[in-house]
């Protein structure tokens, strides 16, 4: 049985359907992420799980028991709020002790478990500080300790890393993964940052306009996006409108208007004549000089339009014959100074026949 289950959950605000018939199951010990642009319904789902909001249709079950009618204070799950919502008039230790006091635990047990929780997030030295005396990263860790100390069945995290700067965020991401592994409590994380979702989660549900577009492991989301929206939302991608010319069990011939034939592969039975999108990640494209030969199925000539040197990699924007601009990422992995194809250089972009993906929608 799944730890938490959403069954056909729908939530309406007036005429707006914020969550449309969403079903999903979260397993014990899982790091599950709801990912989507703002307004996609991910926070509404989180608030319904926490009990601050209730579904109009459908049901939410914890260990197979319906949570409907159970107020937030009686649900065995805790939330780490976006603003942390630390109690400003209580010390760090007081904040962390709060859920244990609410549960009516004896004093010596509270003291011991608060100490353990603070040790877990490396904040023992700040136990007697007040929230306004500590840094943003420390506040984040207090909020985590406060959410975890009562050993909830599930920890809900609402855009919890959003308020941190980039460096600190990366550090907190690493800490969060380690922490989740250590405590073994299932995390449900809500974010609009796709890199964060990929880095942290066991599984990610990508949401758009109240629906789940795809729910999968991070690497499968990246390499096997279900549709154009997911491909575009997760990472960088080139999206080319194509038409199926011919399809066999292993090989797929696509025609891109003004460009020519693209060789791909797809195990699905596709019919010639249908149209869709060809999705190709920039790092799977190679760039060669026009004279160099490459033993790759797909080869198109173009001109370097722009390039962005990013240190470890260089992003090229290559304009193809039909005016389509394709993005290619080349690692600067050779020792010494990076060698560039300069702007205006005539080049050829190439990729393996199994590099890209044909998407029907």
């Amino acid at each position: 049985m799944a730890l938490l289950e959403l069954r056909n959950v729908t939530r309406r605000f007036g005429s707006l359907e914020a969550v449309k018939n969403v079903s999903l199951a979260i397993e014990a010990g899982e790091f599950f992420t709801l990912l989507g642009p703002s307004g996609c319904g991910k926070t509404t789902i989180l608030r319904m799980i926490a009990g601050f909001d209730a579904p109009d249709e459908g049901d939410i079950l914890l260990d197979g028991q319906s949570l409907s009618g159970v107020p937030p204070e009686q649900r065995p799950l805790h939330t780490v709020f976006q603003s942390y919502a630390l109690f400003p008039h209580m010390t760090v230790a007081g904040n962390v002790a709060f859920p244990l006091e609410m549960a009516g635990r004896p004093k010596d047990e509270i003291r011991r478990r608060v100490g353990e929780a603070l040790e877990l997030v490396h904040l023992v030295a700040k136990a007697e500080s007040f929230p306004h005396e500590i840094s943003g990263g420390e506040k984040q860790r207090v909020a985590l300790a406060r959410g975890l100390v009562g050993r909830p069945r599930l920890l809900l995290l609402d855009e919890s890393l959003g308020a941190l700067d980039a460096k600190l965020r990366e550090q907190m991401q690493i800490e969060l993964i380690a922490l989740q592994r250590q405590v073994g409590i299932a995390f449900v994380f809500v974010t609009h940052a796709q890199d964060e979702a990929l880095a942290l989660s066991h599984r990610v549900a990508v949401m758009r306009a109240g629906r789940i577009e795809q729910c999968d492991e991070p690497d499968r989301l990246y390499t096997q996006p279900a549709n154009r929206f997911v491909a575009d939302f997760i990472g960088k991608v080139n999206l080319i409108d194509v038409e199926v010319l011919a399809a066999s069990k292993v090989l797929l011939a696509l025609r891109a208007p003004g460009l020519g034939e693209i060789a791909a592969s797809d195990p699905r039975p596709l019919r010639a004549g249908e149209s869709g999108t060809f999705a190709l990640r920039p790092e799977l494209i190679r760039i060669f000089g026009r004279k160099e030969s490459a033993d790759l199925k797909n080869r198109f000539e173009g001109k370097v339009k722009e390039l962005l040197y990013l240190g470890d990699v260089t992003l090229y924007k290559v304009e193809l014959a039909n005016g389509f601009v394709i993005e290619a990422l080349m690692p600067n992995a050779a020792p010494g100074r990076a060698k560039f194809h300069e702007v205006g250089d005539p080049v050829a972009v190439c990729w393996r026949h199994d590099a890209g993906l044909y998407l029907r929608e």
Partner: protein, 276 residues
């Protein structure tokens, strides 16, 4: 640099000069006159007797006659009771206003302040009309009703300003972590509103302690407070030194209360400055 510093200093002086002059002329000087007057002998027909060395007669008289201690204690009691009643009445009201939608909030605050649009004495006379038929006039009840009525807005406003600034996420967090409605109030809302409570209490307690008009108009002969006593000493008994000494005692008592409250507040406010 030096020029700038000098201009800065001049500007600062220029800005602080008018209030400084005002305070010196209308607070410090009268207080000094009162202090000096309290150490003199009363003149035969009012005023002060010619200077004849410092006299402690007024203070000796105040401290030996039990009636003064009684009236002092009664004033203190009225001030404390009024403050508590105002707090109990104002808290739910301020809380409701702070939780109303933004547009209605401004209207409700305006309604709380509306009584200030008419004269204070006229409103007290209106209470005479209301309390007379109820047979409550010239009683301690009438004094308490009048005191609470006059000072309620001074409690509502600072409480509202404080409560309105509370982050609703804190209550959600408390609820999420297992706190029921009463615990959310006692552990989160109430401690966070302490600065508002202290501010409101000071704004009610201090003027009530020295209030003169309400007991004068609504109270009976047995309901006089320290301020009425001061008036009596100056105008009826023509004992200026005694009136001055009473005034000074009142001021010292108020300052002492304010000082104690500040000390208590410093301890209790730790962390709450961050939100209010």
């Amino acid at each position: 640099m030096a020029r700038h510093a000098r201009v800065d200093r001049l500007a600062r002086w220029g800005m602080t000069l008018p209030p400084t002059v005002f305070l010196l002329a209308f607070v410090a000087a009268p207080a000094l006159i009162m202090i000096l007057a309290s150490f003199r002998e009363p003149g035969e027909f009012g005023g002060l007797a010619p200077w004849n060395g410092a006299s402690f007669e007024a203070y000796r008289f105040l401290l030996t006659d039990i009636i003064y201690a009684e009236i002092f204690a009664r004033s203190l009691l009225v001030a404390v009771l009024t403050t508590l009643i105002c707090l109990v009445l104002a808290y739910p009201l301020a809380w409701l206003i702070a939780r109303s939608p933004k547009r209605r909030r401004d209207l409700l605050v305006l309604l709380v302040m509306l009584p200030f649009a008419s004269n204070f004495l006229i409103r007290i006379y209106a209470w005479i009309m209301l309390l007379g038929p109820l047979n409550l006039l010239f009683s301690p009840w009438a004094v308490m009703i009048g005191m609470v009525y006059v000072h309620l807005p001074f409690m509502v406003l600072p409480l509202y300003v404080n409560l309105e600034r509370h982050d609703p996420a804190l209550l959600e967090a408390a609820r999420d972590l297992g706190a029921g409605a009463w615990t959310r109030f006692s552990r989160i809302t109430f401690p966070l509103s302490l600065p508002g409570i202290y501010a409101g209490a000071a704004l009610v307690f201090i003027p009530v302690f020295g209030m003169f008009a309400v007991p004068e108009l609504l109270g009976g002969t047995g309901d006089i407070l320290i301020a009425n006593l001061i008036k009596e000493e100056f105008l009826q008994n023509r004992d200026w030194p005694l009136g001055s000494a009473l005034s000074i005692l009142l001021t010292v008592a108020v300052l002492a209360c304010a000082g104690l409250a500040t000390l208590a507040a410093r301890r209790g406010f730790k962390g709450t400055e961050a939100v209010s």
